[in-house]
Symmetry: C2
Subunit: 281 residues, 2 copies
């Protein structure tokens, strides 16, 4: 079978050899489950980078705000976005709610950072922090989550403080890095992004669906910690501070498989896989 | 309505102001039409960068090779791929056909090049050439098409010369730039990529569908020049050598719309829009 690249195998081998300590449990308290007709989408939240926004999203989730929400936008090579209907009373009540933007935060020795070590078009320094792709500017001492495929953020209107957690989006295309530092990211999809990325594209401006009948309903959104243990999926993420992760990055920067003729020896921050697995029994 | 970014409007304004001379007709002789159930996908071929492979693909198209082919692979955040069924006699006949790889070519004063001017993780220099995103290395004097969203290439097996045009792929995710210089790109989707990017993902290894029943049929593929004029769509692409394109790049690197709080002042080669329109009457 002719393939573009036999991409999966050697990564699988590296991961299989990883010691258990190189994996961390994804905390149920920082995990969201979205129930869509195609199945479950799992999001890991990043409170270290957006504490107020993550707290706001979790509060809304726990109030049932997203039960009966819908995917209202699917813009090709950009984002899918979900919310309650604009004319819904709860949506109207949220429309005026302001929240502190968390577009970036101050660098802090307590934040893990694994530097990628290759130049980036957009930021002075890029790497990974506790499982998330991040950038930082050592001069200004600012750091921020970056927009990669699967990143999840808080939609907003023109005012910087108009995003309040009531509308969320996930990236489904080329990393829109010009959104970095312009909008608050709260996490990333760790399972099920392929259920969002195949949503038919909306035909309205910016990929909004023109008719509510085209929306994809979200039956419920739950914090995983609130879900009975038997209904949870226990996920683990490869620690981005681990030796195994360094091997993953190196192997992806210089692919050794027979298929590759000219390993480039470099890799972009949004091209590095961030492995997630179901926790072994 | 809360939006992630009101992206479209100011680009539309720039394009509306463009003089007619800044647009070029996309040549019917270098255009492919794929007829899939969702409609027509239009590909512009790039013979300047892959003359032998483009010629091979067009020859196969004109022999009806892709009539009755199917989308056999849809790998999330990577590629869709199409071909005839592996056990089809014509596919079997093609399996052993070798073709010169055209992973890169020698730089040449005759090739237009508009330098982007921002650093790139993967290549010494990136920019655009007659409508296609490209990279080059002034030291080795090599230049090549780069893998961006919508790029179309020739699938191959492990041998560099095993790609012969009988299997094609299109990028539907984060630009897989490590494929650059490892496989022959022949063009890019200029209309209808959103019909390919929403294909349900295949559940087999590398996103291959596990059952032929899951394939999406391609009723026909045609060179646009072979289609009656009344059935063609006359497309124009913004000249990447034009002043308007420079304005597009600058406006996208530093977004001026009210929504953007911190324009980054930089942009990646795969984040620059390559505008295409239906030719005005």
């Amino acid at each position: 079978m002719i393939a573009v690249a036999a991409a999966v195998l050697s990564l699988a081998e590296i991961l299989q050899a990883a010691p258990a300590a190189d994996w961390r449990d994804i905390e149920p308290e920082n995990t969201l489950y979205l129930a869509i007709p195609g199945g479950r989408v799992v999001i890991e939240l990043a409170p270290a980078y957006a504490p107020a926004n993550v707290a706001a999203v979790k509060k809304l989730v726990r109030e049932g705000y997203f039960d009966g929400a819908a995917i209202i936008r699917s813009q090709d090579n950009y984002v899918v976005q979900w919310a309650r209907a604009e004319d819904d009373p709860r949506a109207k009540a949220m429309a005026a709610v302001k929240l502190k933007p968390e577009f970036w935060r101050v660098m802090d020795g307590g934040l893990p950072f694994t530097k990628l070590g290759y130049v980036d078009t957009y930021a002075p320094e890029v790497g990974f922090s506790a499982g998330f792709p991040v950038a930082r500017d050592p001069r200004s001492r600012e750091t921020w989550l970056v927009h990669c495929y699967g990143s999840v953020g808080v939609g907003r209107d023109n005012a910087a403080d108009s995003g309040n957690g009531a509308e969320l989006y996930a990236v489904i295309g080329q990393s829109p890095r010009n959104l970095d530092r312009n909008i608050t990211l709260v996490g990333r999809v760790v399972q099920g992004i392929e259920k969002l990325s195949v949503m038919p594209r909306g035909s309205g401006p910016m990929g909004f669906y023109e008719k509510p009948a085209q929306w994809t309903p979200i039956a419920s959104t739950r914090v995983a910690a609130d879900v009975p243990a038997a209904e949870r999926v226990e996920l683990q993420a490869l620690r981005t501070e681990s030796a195994t992760f360094k091997t993953v990055v190196a192997s992806r920067a210089s692919r050794k498989e027979a298929w590759f003729k000219e390993p480039v020896g470099k890799i972009g921050v949004c091209n590095v896989p961030l492995p997630v697995r179901v926790k072994p029994k």
